[in-house]
Symmetry: C2
Subunit: 392 residues, 2 copies
């Protein structure tokens, strides 16, 4: 064919992280057929859907099978019943017209570039790869601000070297570091954005893991309505990774200098390139936001949190630096003895039969760090912790 | 904010079609409170989901609620069981790696611009607005090729005035005209695309309505694997407008001149900006492709087709020119007496209390035409036909 393809795709790095992990694990298993591996690299939930979600989905599926209750095309931005449940879930005031239901946070984070022009992009490192790749696909230039033990893997605005307005991606609690901004830190980010005319794209997909007094939403910070879009998800809160539902808040106060409303642009983008979320899925999402739904979800989160506590306790005992573990299902630790990420991967696999994720796979600033996750079973996590205790 | 937004959004026309219809209908009802309106403008299915789909969705929802059968993140391009069912549904040979499951045809049609560069775009007029708007949002220049009574609302390559490669959108059976290309016509399109190095984006969302000997897929035409992407949907075939599932075929033979594989690009796009379709929805989609599923779906389509037959019979009797009605749920008729689209809309509403859709809303070439749809009940359609018989 003689047509032009999007040449920006050539700038996206192939990621070998998970295939490289798989191939090292396979080789180890072939050489050590008796080894009992424990996987602490899982980035996906493992507990089943809360009962309220299943019941709501079954009820809705049956409604779809009867003439009187059948539903056709949903509104592109979501059914009102779910928008109401989400608005009620926020402590900040969010209007229904500012809520856009989608099939997941990843889609929205990836698609938001559609309504933006060619801006400077600021992304923390290490980072969830979608921020980077979706911007590379659009030909945008990215500047990174590094996490480190000095800033607790919570990069701050004073690290930005460029002047002027930018689109800034923040994720708190963070994937992969588990670090979460407190109110004072997020306030600094909002102040910086307002001062420079920047837009923050705030990924709060892990907010349900927050136990301390940290903001669950950027809209808890004054001024955020004029400078921030928030993307959130049912995936980690309610175990919806395979059920698929998320939402994005685009405040009506978000205006470009020429008066363009980002809310109206996102509405138009979604109405043109999206056709709404499955009715049974939206019903399940509504159900998990009920009182009983939240109780069931929080039981699952507490289960994962116990795993995180167990792992964190070992690292505390051994005096190993880490972020996360609290307010997050991720534990991000400094590889002991100055090992690099992949050396520690092999060390942990060979000596303790534990599979984790090398931090280097999430960006340059992840080199020398390692991610463990709390999504395993209590039994496996306990066993992994006793192996870690011996090894470290 | 001082950031740049996508200025191409300024080139998209606001569409007032459906809001204008709603306001004219509301006014009529206020002035004529006793009038019994019949809506033949519905573009959405109305019959409930086939039983197999409901059963599969209920089964899958229950699986999601049990530890042993819970499913997390689906593969971004779809579960293999559904890809297999789709591949088996094609008469042409389609590899599983060429099938990408999504939440619907609209998403894929809209998102395909992401992998393309700045090409000439050829779009038939009248047309489904997503082809136009998604290209305007990307800043692409569109040339239209007009449908008319001369070409039976099936524009052909000899109408193209530009030289060289282009991205060409085709929809057959067409929305809104109901016209469908035959094998000879589609062969001409494929030959044209191969000769000029063009890419065809082929929307076959209405293929299940084909009753005659017409191609259901562009891959029934030799050479299409080297020049065509096909987007299809469960929405009209299985009544999935509110359940949300579709798919796109990107053949591995589709290569740009520099060797770039469009299949690999679309895989990367979806893996970056999409996270797969809900497991219960994919199970429902698999179920409708079973032998019993297809029987249940085709019963619903036969029901709609009877409506289309009734409407077409009236137009035949009255000697009114139309396309569609056969092989499509849409009937696209020439407004009688040289009326323009909106005059006929008011005429039909005022004299027969029937609501349809003015053709002008689908593009300039739609002026003087009118769309009726077959998605109503038999009872209402029959009543509408007897009113039409009196009026026309």
């Amino acid at each position: 064919m003689n047509i032009k393809t999007n040449s920006n795709f050539k700038n996206i790095k192939e990621t070998y992280l998970f295939s490289e992990i798989a191939s090292r694990v396979r080789r180890y298993q072939e050489e050590n057929p008796g080894a009992k591996l424990i996987r602490l690299g899982i980035g996906d939930v493992t507990l089943p859907l809360p009962a309220v979600a299943v019941e709501a989905m079954v009820r809705a599926a049956n409604e779809m099978g009867r003439q009187e209750t059948f539903r056709g095309y949903p509104p592109e931005s979501g059914h009102e019943f779910l928008k109401k449940a989400i608005a009620d879930h926020y402590t900040a005031d969010i209007r229904l017209s500012e809520i856009f239901i989608s099939d997941g946070a990843k889609s929205d984070i990836g698609n938001l570039v559609d309504i933006l022009g060619n801006n400077k992009i600021i992304i923390p490192d290490p980072v969830y790869p979608v921020y980077v790749d979706s911007n590379l696909m659009s030909g945008n230039k990215i500047s990174y601000i590094s996490g480190s033990s000095e800033n607790g893997f919570l990069p701050m605005p004073d690290q930005i070297r460029e002047d002027g307005a930018a689109v800034i991606y923040l994720c708190s609690p963070n994937n992969p570091t588990g670090a979460a901004y407190d109110r004072a830190q997020l306030t600094k980010w909002v102040e910086y954005a307002l001062k420079t005319g920047s837009l923050i794209i705030y990924d709060s997909a892990y907010e349900a893991f927050i136990t301390g007094d940290l903001p669950h939403s950027i809209y808890e910070i004054e001024g955020a309505r004029e400078c921030a879009i928030e993307v959130c998800s049912f995936s980690k809160f309610a175990g919806f990774t395979g059920t698929r539902c998320g939402w994005t808040i685009v405040p009506e106060d978000l205006k470009a200098d020429d008066g363009t409303s980002l809310n109206k642009m996102w509405f138009r983008r979604q109405a043109t390139k999206f056709n709404g979320v499955s009715y049974p899925v939206q019903c399940a999402a509504e159900a998990v936001l009920s009182g009983e739904g939240i109780r069931q979800c929080m039981r699952n989160i507490a289960y994962y949190q116990e795993n995180a506590d167990m792992i964190a306790a070992v690292l505390d005992e051994k005096g190993i630096y880490y972020t996360g573990g609290k307010d997050s299902p991720y534990i991000w630790l400094k590889c002991p003895g100055g090992m690099d990420s992949w050396t520690f991967f092999d060390h942990l696999l060979g000596k303790a039969q534990i599979v984790g994720t090398p931090g280097e796979g999430f960006g340059e600033a992840g080199e020398g760090y390692f991610r463990l996750t709390a999504f395993g079973t209590h039994e496996n996590t306990k066993e992994a912790c006793s192996r870690l205790r011996e090894l470290l």
